[in-house]
């Protein structure tokens, strides 16, 4: 009766203006969308023949696909809890998708739909029926849907456009033809909505979402900061056979026993590494999906890579679970932290993979290996070619022929004594050693160290202080908290001039490549302590200072 009355629909006419009979094959039941004076019982949900009530009835499907819904669509989940029945209207195509039930009618609440407050006073008085699938199930699904959909929405918005197809394919949740239908040329928000619809069609749950998160993190490993831990058994214990299933169930059980609300998901990749995602909750709250911890465990090795998580209190529990599930006794933090997981793996696993061939000692001079153009003018004669070959050989022996893992910081703690020709100086008489912190930073630290000798900046072989960086234990890739000022400016050299504080070439007085602020720049001391990413100038060859005991952070 009010079919033709389009004034009732300020947001656009419904897509089907006719009054088809109830689509039995589509709708499992009917719910009357009614005001508070007409609470509906849940039992009314099953299908009814005819739609006769005291009030006028309208059946049909209201099309929510209108673009005008955009603001509400975006806020669909904001404040949309089952309690407030607002905004639970989602944008859906009128294709065979089950409608969400806007409000649980059995509760007798007022349905204030965004569809129109204008509709409310007059239209609702007439009563409206909305057509949908089994609404009881959809109530539950909708409850999950809001959180899941929001999580899914945020996950997909994180993914750059060019990676969406590959990530969805790896996720393997949507079918091939569904993936084909996704139009990648639209705006991100609409693309997200489309994917959300497809996923809701397949009844995605939190586990699937977590899997998507894992896939995303696997592709974008550099978004997380990874710490390296090493687990160890008691000496004399047997090596157990590793069983993936048993590890996973054990890990999950331990966490769930300790904390009621954790969400644990696993994904095993081709290299037999298990990626674990843990979302932490508390005794009373659901897991926080937005601050998960990722763990990468290689079962054949004792090494675990854990992403830094803002929830610090969860760390001991995680360690405990890892230890018990993998049957180790101890877990220890190696001083390695980086965004580049592959570089960490290369460093850590070098003890297992001897990749370079030490028999290949005669390396011909390669073009560009010293930064030289080998197509020299014939009037330019290079002396010292043997020396260059020696340097190349030594560098190759130290660093290997393969590309270096990418590291950005290296930090050493150094204890040294002041060495001076002038006896009786304050610093020379000092009893305690001077404690220094040396920090190297570079976009690609190991390659820079490798190119020092060939570029002529340092002697080959390099100082063991630098090459010890290649050995695992003496690394500490942390952000420094301070830089100790070493008064090395007047260190027994003939240079009396005060170095301006901007020059960090190092003085070599106290020993080593010390990044020091000279005594004469008090005004800038804070600046040095605060600066974290200074581009280092050429690193100098380290002279040997007396009684230097490099103590690395262990």
């Amino acid at each position: 009766s009010d079919a033709g009355d389009l004034t009732r629909f300020p947001y656009g006419a419904p897509t089907t203006t006719s009054h088809p009979p109830i689509h039995r094959e589509q709708c499992g039941g009917l719910v009357r969308w009614a005001g508070p004076e007409q609470p509906l019982a849940a039992s009314k949900a099953p299908r009814r023949e005819g739609l006769q009530t005291r009030r006028a009835v309208w059946t049909g499907q209201v099309g929510f696909n209108d673009a005008r819904w955009a603001p509400e669509g975006g806020e669909r989940t904001k404040g949309a809890s089952p309690q407030s029945s607002t905004g639970a209207v989602s944008r859906r195509s009128t294709a065979a998708e089950p409608w969400p039930e806007p409000s649980p009618p059995g509760v007798g609440r007022d349905f204030t739909c965004r569809l129109g407050s204008a509709l409310r006073p007059t239209a609702l008085s007439a009563g409206r029926w909305l057509c949908f699938e089994t609404w009881a199930r959809s109530i539950r699904a909708r409850k999950m849907d809001e959180n899941i959909a929001e999580f899914l929405r945020r996950s997909i918005l994180k993914i750059p456009l060019h990676a969406i197809k590959t990530i969805l394919k790896t996720w393997d949740f949507l079918s091939e033809d569904q993936l084909e239908t996704i139009n990648l040329r639209q705006r991100k928000e609409s693309l997200t909505q489309e994917i959300i619809l497809l996923c809701e069609g397949k009844n995605a749950n939190l586990d699937d979402m977590a899997l998507l998160d894992i896939v995303y993190t696997q592709v974008h490993r550099h978004k997380k900061l990874w710490d390296v831990f090493q687990m160890s058994k008691e000496p004399g214990e047997d090596v157990d056979l590793f069983d993936m299933k048993q590890f996973q169930t054990s890990f999950k059980k331990i966490l769930q026993r300790a904390l009621k609300n954790v969400a644990v998901n696993f994904r095993v990749d081709q290299k037999n590494a298990v990626w674990i995602r843990v979302a932490w909750g508390t005794q009373h709250s659901q897991p926080n999906q937005y601050k998960p911890t990722f763990v990468v465990y290689y079962p054949q090795t004792p090494y675990v890579f854990i992403s830094t998580c803002p929830l610090k209190s969860t760390v001991p529990l995680l360690h405990q679970a890892l230890k018990v599930a993998s049957k180790h006794h101890q877990i220890v933090h190696l001083n390695l932290r980086s965004r580049h997981l592959d570089s960490l793996k290369a460093i850590v696993f070098r003890e297992y993979n001897q990749t370079f061939d030490s028999h290949n000692t005669t390396v011909p001079l390669q073009e560009g290996s010293f930064g030289l153009d080998m197509n020299l003018d014939s009037n330019i004669i290079l002396e010292n070619t043997e020396e260059k070959e020696r340097i190349q050989r030594v560098t190759q022996d130290t660093f290997g022929a393969y590309p270096q893992p990418q590291l950005e910081f290296a930090q050493y703690k150094l204890e040294t004594r002041f060495k001076s020709d002038i006896s009786g100086g304050i610093l020379a008489d000092r009893k305690e050693p001077l404690r220094c912190l040396i920090k190297f930073s570079s976009p690609h630290l190991l390659e820079a160290l490798k190119s020092l000798a060939p570029a002529g900046i340092a002697d080959a072989p390099l100082s063991p202080l630098l090459t010890s960086a290649l050995r695992l234990r003496q690394f500490c890739l942390c952000f420094p908290s301070y830089v100790v000022a070493v008064a090395a400016a007047g260190a027994g050299t003939e240079r009396g001039a005060w170095r301006p504080c901007g020059s960090h070439g190092g003085h070599g007085g106290g020993g080593g490549c010390v990044r020091s602020s000279g005594p004469g720049c008090p005004g800038h001391a804070d600046e040095h302590a605060g600066s974290r990413r200074r581009r280092l100038g050429p690193v100098e060859a380290v002279g040997v200072a007396a009684s230097r005991q490099p103590t690395a952070t262990g």
């Binding site: 010292n384 570029a455 070439g505 060859a541």
Partner: protein, 180 residues
């Protein structure tokens, strides 16, 4: 032959040989190419070395001018140059040795003070030139200057000898020169 001597070989006809000694090959090579770019009446040869002593080579021509290239950013280069100076015969220092300091324009990166190289050059009674070898124009200018010095040291310029040039190059208002 561990010590370079200036007069132990006969000169070649119309040939002038310069030896650039420095640790950073890239800089040396660019300078050498700049020197060879311009036309010159003499036939130029440029030898590049990281340090002295040079490996023994009977075919090496007589060296007319040695230029020690010091990068003020790197103490390693100064150290190498100082070690190499021990392998140069004292007669070279009669105008056939020159010091070239690069990197002075970026004061914040300098780990060697200018006075150090000034004193070094003064100790060896040889001229000191400052240049930014990374900038094309400065490098080209310096290359031309070195070519001119080389021609004089090789004796290709009539009326001027290396020793004459040395006394001409000695800066009169430098406080260090007053001591000599």
């Amino acid at each position: 032959m561990s010590v370079l001597r200036p007069m132990d070989k006969l000169p070649d006809l119309n040939r002038a040989t310069i030896l650039l000694v420095g640790t950073e090959d890239a800089l040396l090579q660019q300078l050498a190419e700049s020197m060879l770019k311009d036309d010159c009446a003499s036939e130029l040869r440029v030898h590049l070395a990281n340090s002295l002593p040079l490996p023994s080579d009977a075919n090496r021509p007589r060296i007319d001018l040695i230029v020690f290239v010091i990068n003020l950013h790197s103490k390693h280069s100064l150290q190498k140059v100082e070690e190499s100076l021990n392998h140069v015969d004292s007669r070279f220092f009669l105008g056939k040795v020159c010091f070239l300091a690069t990197g002075a324009e970026r004061e914040s990166h300098c780990s060697i003070h200018r006075n150090t190289v000034i004193k070094l050059a003064h100790t060896y009674r040889s001229p000191l030139l400052f240049c930014d070898l990374k900038v094309e124009s400065c490098r080209a200018t310096m290359a031309q200057r070195l070519v001119r010095m080389l021609q004089i040291c090789a004796g290709h310029v009539p009326g001027v000898s290396a020793l004459n040039l040395l006394s001409l190059l000695r800066c009169s208002d430098s406080p260090l020169s007053k001591e000599s």
